[in-house]
Amino acid sequence: MAKTLKDALTEFLNIDGVNVVAVIGRDGFVIESSSTVKLDTDALGAVVASAIGSSEVMGNNFTLGGLTQYLLEFDNGKVIIAAAGEYILTLITDQNAVIGSVRYAVKKGIAGLVKLL
């Protein structure tokens, strides 16, 4: 059976520490998400789109090229945001997640994800 976008996203939850994964349009509307915790997807989409948008404005202003990945570290967890073609892949982890593993999985999984979009 063909893999759905939801299936592909849920696989990211198998990575230690990853609690939330979502694909979001550049306008902030959530396309699909999967999580092990309670989540306000509307709020997630809105803030992620604003974060990516303002970062890309910065990249354009400083002629740094396109945004590929964005890492935010907080006291209680981390957020990884990656460009996925016209969409945005977002993962939220707890503070114990090994960021290198998460970033590697994102880099490895993005191409397959884009094909499903």
Binding site: G25, R26, F29, A46, G53, E56
Partner: protein, 205 residues
Amino acid sequence: MVKKVVDISHVVFMELIRTIISTIGVPAAKGSLMRIAINAGEQSEEVEFASFDDFVAAIETLENPIACMEGKAESLGDGLFGLPKCPFASLLSNYTDFYGKAPQGFEAIADEFNKGNPMNKKLRIGSGAGVGPFCVFHQPMRSQAGANIKIGGKKINIFQLGCRTGSGKKAFANEFIEEYGCQYEIVDKALDTYMCCYGVKVLEE
């Protein structure tokens, strides 16, 4: 030289939109305006009309939530409505009067709004029928307000079919014209007279 009297709140509002666009980019700005509009539409009054005629009559008496929000539209038959005046028309003229030029970057947000995407399909907005940044706000707000309205106990869908600028440029949502089941020529003719043309369809449950 004496400048024209303007409504400063309009000037500020336009500058806020321009700032949002320049700081977070066009797609995110479009989404932000849409979310504001959808949330506002959700707050509109829940109303039930016994019949479509009652829905239309309530526009004239401003007991129809859509009319309360955008002004009185005129019934064109077959569920079609034409709005004589864009509720946002004075914002652009106030800005231009104050600064002496049109705001920069607003065409881009209308173009973004017209791209196909799941939210546009769900609300039956944009997708070609946006002519300016205020369509990004007006159309979702109207569609979402429609979700709070019932006619004869049944839900309705509002289809954005076409829109026109003050300078006469027309824009059409061909997929929604087709889905609604009316002819392009009827919408085109309506836009000769009206700024906005939309259809209201009662859902068969």
